[in-house]
Amino acid sequence: MSNRRFSSVLKLSILSVVLAFTGSVSADPVKAAFVYIGPTGDHGWTFAHDQGAKYVKEKMGDDVVITTVESVEENSDSERVITSLARKNDIIFTTSFGYMNPTVKVAKRYPDVKFEHATGYMLEDNLSVYSARFYEGRHVIGKIAGRMTKSNVIGYIASFPIPEVIRGINSAYLAAKSVNPDVSMKIVWVYTWYDPGKEADAANALIAQGADILMQHTDSTAPITVAEEKGIYAFGQASNMREWGPNAQLTGIIDDWGPYYLARVQAVKDGTWTSSDTFDGVKQGMVKFAPMNNNMPVDVRNEAMKAIIDLSMGAIHPFTGPINKQDGTPWLAEGETPPNFPDLLTMDFYVEGIDSKYPN
């Protein structure tokens, strides 16, 4: 009996020695690469992804080698950049929607490399997609905006009419309306993710139409700078923009990709990576908030904090029925919440009450 046990211990230890040797593959650092749409800079979408990459490096140290490529255009060049990276890396994060088809093409050619595409919808065995429930953030700033506006007009600078942006508009509007029935929303489409000039023009146009609080689904700090100059309010986008609007920024929606990136890179190192579809929000910590500005009344701040806590516990959903579509047709019945697919992921309509033509 004891002999047998001894032999099994021996076997185990031999096994572990063998494992230690064969496992030397995983002792090599994981090579992870990130493809960015813009410069890393000091704010906005790409900055937030780069913070995530830095977080992975900070946590994994010598176990990871990180390569980042910035300002990669969403055209045929991106396929070459992704291919170059696939030749030298274990996992590649492509962090903009426009990289979807190039990422799919390269993923098919490099089946041993893992790919992760942000905000898209195409999955492969070696290609995951991930995105954040930014509309949960919009719910919180919508409540604040509804309370803080004096003119009852919220200005919204929108980028492209894709589901993610539409979700944000609808969520912010419903939240604002829930605390202020008189509120209305003006929307300007700038058809860019980043263009300080156009964004500033849009901000000024909205202010001229009576808006005294701005929301943006674009990346530059121009709108918040305009808001600061004009003495009105705004919200940071993707990262804390306090610096550009110390009085104007009431709070900001912060994208925190770090923990997700760490988990995915670690999974490659552990050999446990599988293709997955992630859509996380406040609850999982992927959507966070910049500190609340002290110039907000305490009750408004408390209401916002309560919404954040409720979201983080999963106690509320920004889209809870009854909600009608803009044309009056019913969408969600009393107490109903929408599924991810198709309602949230393909959203292509305004909710009832938004006084603006749907772009088409």
């Binding site: 410069p39 390569t67 490529v69 255009e73 969403e74 045929s76 058809y191």
Partner: protein, 356 residues
């Protein structure tokens, strides 16, 4: 004080040598810049990645040719107008319109197989580019509106038109409303001429066009006409050359070729229409044309050189984490030194005292 005095005769040797001198000076300047910005990376290895790897590695070489093909096609078209003094600065817009027109044909016949589809798309692309450039030709002839302004401004209109089309009629019906077209089906995709790469038939077309342009300029009356119109407009008038014809031909040829290049990009490397399709090929091709001194065969080489700066610049960014502006700095220096050399070929520098 420094004064530039025209030389009586330009040195033949220097005309051939000047591109090489410009290239050498660019490399030297790059070397000095790298010495300053690189901390613990050998300058030689960065140089290898920037200039040699794209030529030695078969994948990067194929990509270099992919990148060069549209520059060649657009550059050839532009060079003809530039010879005649017709400044089409908006090839980018004609490129976009060609891609939209040709791409729309491909999407209209979605999943219809047939050898005829690609030629039809190419013709639509050429016509799209031509029609767009003809706006500038018409306005110039009818109202003496400067074609530089018209073509440039229409570029922005073309980009907005592409976006509008991708929000509307050309949008992928099963693409969750994202502003992209469907992926083209096989019959609408360009044949690949190097298996396993993205190198498509556009390169062969570019080389054929270069030979055609060379013949046209050397042997054909039209070549003579644009040359004289460009260098001696009054003489051209006396010779009875029709000025309007030159404007029309110049803009139609450059617009048509830019449109063809746009269609090739959409149905080649991109495989679909996306808002990212305009990628400054139309503007970069201006540099390409001038680096080659508007010579149709030279354009093939200058396009390769500019493509090298793109692919190499991208690789040093990936391998050494250098800023993406390296490529633009390199292209800027190259053009600067080249123009400086040209000035010194045509003029001599004379120093003289101010109070003379």
């Amino acid at each position: 004080m420094i004064k530039l005095i025209p030389r009586a005769e330009n040195s033949k040797a220097m005309i051939i040598l000047s591109p090489i001198i410009a290239l050498t000076l660019t490399a030297l300047s790059a070397f000095v810049i790298f010495l300053f910005i690189l901390d613990d990376i050998a300058v030689s290895s960065v140089f290898f990645t920037l200039f040699a790897e794209p030529l030695l590695d078969s994948y990067y070489f194929s990509e270099l040719l992919v990148k060069a093909a549209p520059l060649m096609i657009i550059g050839l078209g532009l060079s003809i107008g530039f010879r005649a003094g017709i400044w089409n600065i908006g090839a980018e817009g004609q490129y976009v319109m060609g891609a939209v027109a040709g791409g729309a044909v491909g999407l209209y016949f979605y999943n219809v197989e047939g050898f005829w589809l690609l030629p039809l798309m190419a013709i639509a692309g050429i016509i799209g580019g031509m029609l767009y450039a003809s706006i500038a030709a018409y306005l110039r002839i009818k109202y003496q509106v400067n074609e530089i302004l018209v073509t440039l401004m229409l570029t922005y209109v073309a980009v907005l038109f592409l976006q509008a089309m991708l929000q509307g009629p050309l949008r992928n019906p099963s693409g969750f409303n994202f502003p992209e077209s469907r992926m083209f089906h096989d019959s609408a995709m360009l044949p690949i001429i190097w298996e396993g790469t993205r190198l498509h038939i556009g390169l062969i077309v570019a080389i054929l066009l270069s030979i055609l342009a060379w013949f046209g300029i050397k042997k054909h009356m039209f070549g003579m006409q644009i040359k004289i119109t460009g260098s001696a407009p009054r003489a051209a008038k006396f010779a009875g050359f029709d000025d309007n014809k030159t404007v029309w031909y110049s803009l139609l040829i450059s617009g048509g070729l830019a449109g063809l290049a746009g269609l090739f990009e959409a149905s080649g490397p991109a495989g679909q229409l996306t808002p990212g399709l305009p990628q400054f090929y139309g503007f970069t091709a201006i540099i390409v044309a001038f680096l080659a001194r508007l010579h149709p065969v030279g354009i093939l080489f200058s396009a390769l050189l500019i493509a090298l700066s793109y692919v190499g610049g991208e690789n040093v960014q990936i391998d050494y984490n250098l800023p993406s502006s390296i490529t633009q700095i390199f292209q800027g220096m190259l053009l600067f030194y080249f123009l400086a050399c040209d000035i010194l070929i045509k003029y001599k520098v004379v120093l003289f005292k101010k109070n003379n």
